[in-house]
């Protein structure tokens, strides 16, 4: 259709920023939550991402596969915020109480004790390890897809995934999985 319109010199009406982003908001928020572990930090991360994406509207409209591109942007933003957090010492707020550092505490609003345990264990991971677990093990992205999203070689991803899983397994109480339950 766009080719036909352009042939007649008619421009297709551009999708608005909201129209492009809205369908992905919930998914982005969920991944942001899995990265950061709290609702507040997830919202901050997503808001930062939106600010960035708003400046990239021309590029955004040219992207064919928006979802992986958004995941890539979110990942970069997460790494950036994590690095900023690492560079800054704990800041004291106006009540002289230590402000809890980002990405260290899971959200107490979670009802599920098992999920709390997983988020708590994920706090032991580095940003890269946390990202690879989030995207691969929780969201089902393949390693080649992650290689694109995270700009990381496959070998490094495999190694990071192995180490991250090993760390998590140490901190999560796992019930033995009944092999017979599975369908052969």
């Amino acid at each position: 259709m766009s080719q036909i319109l352009s042939f007649f010199g008619i421009k297709e009406k551009e999708q608005s920023f909201e129209a492009i982003i809205s369908p992905h908001m919930n998914n982005l928020y969920k991944v942001a939550f899995q990265y950061t572990g709290t609702k507040h930090d997830a919202e901050d991360l997503l808001q930062d991402l939106l600010e960035y994406l708003f400046t990239k509207q021309k590029e955004l409209r040219k992207i064919e596969k928006v979802k992986p591109w958004l995941m890539k942007c979110l990942h970069h933003r997460f790494i950036d915020l994590y690095r900023k957090q690492q560079r800054q010492p704990d800041i004291e707020d106006i009540d002289d109480e230590k402000v809890q550092p980002l990405f260290r505490y899971f959200d107490n609003h979670l009802q599920d004790e098992q999920s709390k345990e997983i988020f708590n264990a994920m706090n032991m991971l580095s940003a890269d390890h946390r990202a690879v677990v989030t995207l691969h093990d929780i969201n089902g992205y393949t390693l080649p897809e992650l290689s694109e999203i995270m700009d990381t070689p496959l070998g490094t991803l495999k190694s990071n995934l192995h180490r991250a899983r090993a760390t998590l397994k140490k901190h999560i109480k796992l019930q033995p999985y009944e092999l017979d339950v599975r369908h052969y």
């Binding site: 909201e18 919202e43 600010e51 400046t55 950036d80 599920d112 999920s115 092999l179």
Partner: protein, 249 residues
């Protein structure tokens, strides 16, 4: 199939494999090897746990509010250039680009005779440099980090050796300048380096700015002899830049 191969296979299992039959040769080995059976059970239990993790949903109202915030903010501030940087460093400058896409080069110095006369007899050399960064597109929310060597201080901030501040780069040329003070006696003419890092999302650019005390001193001495005919750039300050450092991205 030996244990090593089984472990490799187990490691490559994903949540998709939770509902798939195990490869027959893997199952044959696992049935006869207790440690591999345990490893497989652990892996499947782990995958099952993380795949059922509770993650909150973003309500439609919250999503809309977040979108409204960014679109409204950027519409009202569309033409507002928050101004890049308030300052930077000094002296005889040589910068090295670490990353390929960033080209750094220096321009010939311009000297203010007035300023040089004022400072030639002092213990400290005070000067100013202008850093020019060319970026092809807007780079919002970048961070600039400056690390100063022991004998260089920011004018008015003697105790600060390192500082980081957020910057918004607009597409095109962004300039910044910042006065520094060099203790010429303590430095003993040794070359000093100021390290600058620019962070933007997952990217990081680092460049080194070499400060040649002798060169600054000699330039200022020469300029002290000139009374007329010198172009003084940046006439809003007495301390004209000795060098411009330009960075292209």
């Amino acid at each position: 199939m030996n244990c090593e191969l089984v472990n490799k296979n187990i490691d490559e299992l994903t949540i998709v494999d939770l509902n798939q039959p195990i490869e027959s040769n893997l199952k044959t080995h696992v049935d006869s090897c207790e440690s591999c059976q345990h490893a497989l059970q652990q892996q499947l239990a782990y995958l099952h746990r993380v795949s059922t993790i509770e993650t909150p949903e973003l309500s439609a109202q919250s999503a809309q509010a977040m979108l409204n915030k960014v679109t409204h903010k950027n519409t009202t501030h569309e033409n507002h250039n928050s101004g890049f940087l308030q300052g930077f460093i000094a002296a005889s400058v040589l910068a090295v680009s670490i990353f390929g896409a960033w080209n750094v080069f220096t321009q010939s110095p311009e000297i203010s005779p007035l300023y040089a006369i004022e400072n030639t007899q002092q213990e400290f050399l005070t000067t100013e440099v202008t850093l020019v960064i060319n970026v092809p597109e807007d780079m919002y929310d970048a961070d600039l980090n400056i690390s100063l060597p022991q004998h260089i201080a920011l004018e008015g901030y003697d105790d600060i050796q390192e500082l980081t501040w957020p910057v918004d780069l607009k597409a095109g040329v962004n300039t910044l300048s910042l006065p520094i003070r060099v203790n010429k006696h303590l430095s003993n003419g040794k070359p000093l380096s100021i390290m600058a890092k620019l962070y933007h999302y997952a990217e990081e650019r680092e460049f080194e700015i070499k400060v040649d005390i002798d060169k600054i001193q000699s330039l200022q001495d020469e300029s002290a002899l000139i009374t007329t005919g010198t172009n003084v750039a940046y006439s809003t300050t007495k301390q004209a830049p000795l060098n411009n450092l330009t960075v292209n991205t």
